[in-house]
């Protein structure tokens, strides 16, 4: 009868000692047998393996973490600001990617949302100092986030999703927002002959907001005066897209193309345009950015740039493992390609 220890909730729990006692050896022998280290006879090794299987032994994560000084977990840190809440479908893609990579290595995924109540810096630091994760993936952080720099400086292995030019030493995975945004804009210019363009930006304290704005302006400039571009500041929210369009229509100025910095705003804008009786893409061509799900299901479907969120997350996680293992060698910055997904909102014939 193995001496089962019990947890606080009264649950019996099989430890290595139970396995060892059943075979008649010490827990050290059992550890070596299961781990494949040390000198254990094949016969004993076999017996221990069988006993472990019979008892359903799984190593205690706490015991192992304490001894090995690594937890076998990675954290996804989500700064829960008003703009980027966990509830966005973007995070599902990210989580799917992280889970896939983590499962392949039998690593746990910890979801760490930073609450507003506790200070930002403290929130990051808790994960670091409690050593509950061996590394962290951070996404959608503001460029002004002070906690992020501290996190990277803390020495905890961190991989960022997105672009962080202010943190040149950080390992990151992202896309070329400037080029992608430029391409979206050029689609309206070159394919559809639109010339009176407006860009509704993202929040300009986020690098994606900054870069997509630059890409838009680059395209306008490259047109050599053929096209005109104006800017309206948004914040990635559907409401911001709607308001931007409403203010635009209110002014009565001529607009034949709108480049939204993301799909949520594009959808908001689309609703406002329809409400005002403007035809999309008849009167106005619009493009969005992200393709996290929304742009496919609207009417008309929104032409957009597909940001490969799941793939970014998967690769970020794989890189994180390499950083944790100390087997670097890969470049600090990985940029994934972005595809133009043509739908109806730009004026292209339905696929």
């Amino acid at each position: 009868m193995p001496r089962n220890t019990r947890t606080s909730s009264g649950r019996p729990s099989v430890t290595l000692k139970d396995v060892a006692e059943r075979v008649g050896v010490t827990s050290s022998a059992a550890s070596m047998a299961l781990g494949g280290h040390g000198r254990i006879s094949e016969k004993t090794r076999q017996a221990i393996r069988e006993a472990a299987a019979e008892l359903g032994y799984v190593p205690s994560s706490a015991g192992r973490a304490l001894r090995n000084q690594r937890s076998g977990a990675v954290a996804l840190i989500v700064p829960d600001t008003s703009q980027h809440v966990l509830g966005h479908s973007y995070f599902m893609h990210v989580l799917t990617g992280i889970s896939a990579a983590a499962n392949a290595r039998d690593v746990q995924v910890i979801l760490s949302t930073t609450t507003e109540e506790a200070g930002d810096v403290a929130a990051y630091q808790r994960v670091v100092r409690s050593r509950s994760a061996d590394g962290a993936i951070v996404t959608s952080a503001a460029v002004t986030d002070p906690g992020l720099e501290a996190l990277v400086a803390s020495g905890l292995p961190v991989v960022l999703i997105g672009n962080f030019p202010y943190l040149p030493d950080a390992v990151s995975v992202g896309i070329d927002d400037v080029a992608a945004s430029r391409r979206a804009t050029e689609h309206l210019l070159d394919v559809h002959g639109r010339t009176e363009l407006v860009h509704v930006t993202g929040p300009l304290d986020h690098q994606t907001g900054i870069d997509r704005r630059i890409g838009f302006l680059d395209a306008i400039e490259a047109s050599g005066g053929r096209a005109h571009g104006r800017l309206l500041e948004g914040d990635f929210s559907e409401a911001a897209g709607r308001q931007a369009v409403e203010s635009l229509l209110g002014r009565g100025t001529g607009v034949d193309g709108i480049v939204f910095a993301n799909d949520d705003m594009a959808f908001g804008g689309l609703q406002a345009l329809k409400a005002a009786g403007r035809s999309v893409p008849g009167d106005v061509s619009i493009v969005g950015f992200d393709d996290f799900g929304l742009s496919r299901v609207t009417t008309p479907g929104i032409t957009t740039m597909r940001a490969p969120a799941e793939d970014m997350a998967r690769r970020a996680t794989e890189r994180l493992f390499r950083v944790i293992d100390g087997s670097g060698g890969s470049p600090d910055r990985l940029t994934l390609p972005v595809d133009l997904v043509v739908r109806d909102s730009c004026g292209c014939p339905a696929a």
Copy 2:
């Protein structure tokens, strides 16, 4: 100079011993001071608190978990079947709710997706036996899932989201799918006078699929022969909704109302109806179920029953804490109200 230990990745780590040495006491005294237990003079207690703050001490989760026999984490277990993948927006709502409740108690959230490779039962058991979580939330499990029963029987505190009549002893949080589905059906019958109805079911190995089907049939029966109902089996996927409608139109039978068991299928069906030139809601009224985001953004908007996923998850987590703490008292089954969200697809005038 505190003797900082180092983790495997070379990161300095502040332990209780470092705090204690700075003050000139043992780590036991420091533990008692910070924990408020034992007999420590107010002066020493103050000094220890200051030292801890200065050094940025945060308890090692592994050390604490090992000693206390509880990890300070809860797991969300997601059976990653072909039908319910992590990528669905439903999980964002669930994660948001769990995070909110867990953050309020300073508890970590572990995301545990069961990979297909490892056996189902083993996947559940890993979380249980490694004791990496003090409890688990399980959602969208099939009624036939053998691992679920084993999980509940294992003694690990578990709260289920959804209905599980086969597990009467399990603590669960859910909605009344039968009543809600009946109400959705009756909306088409009573408000819009539809009489030739079809129900596209969910997967019938999931209780939601079973119950929503029953609710539909109840409504038909209660109509006293005034309405006729037919069934088509689906699987909650957009493609299933499309196929169901296509087969329906192919047969050429008269249909003036379709009750889809969820919004994804409703959207698929909506596309098929539009492609066939049928007007929604002119020719056919449709209703969906869930309101996780999709039904709001389609054209027309899909009238649906709002399943309060985030609230369910939050309450499930709070109940899980009570189960973990052993402070029961609440009923084993919590049923939350479901609201009818009227949009355009049923024929109601636009809000």
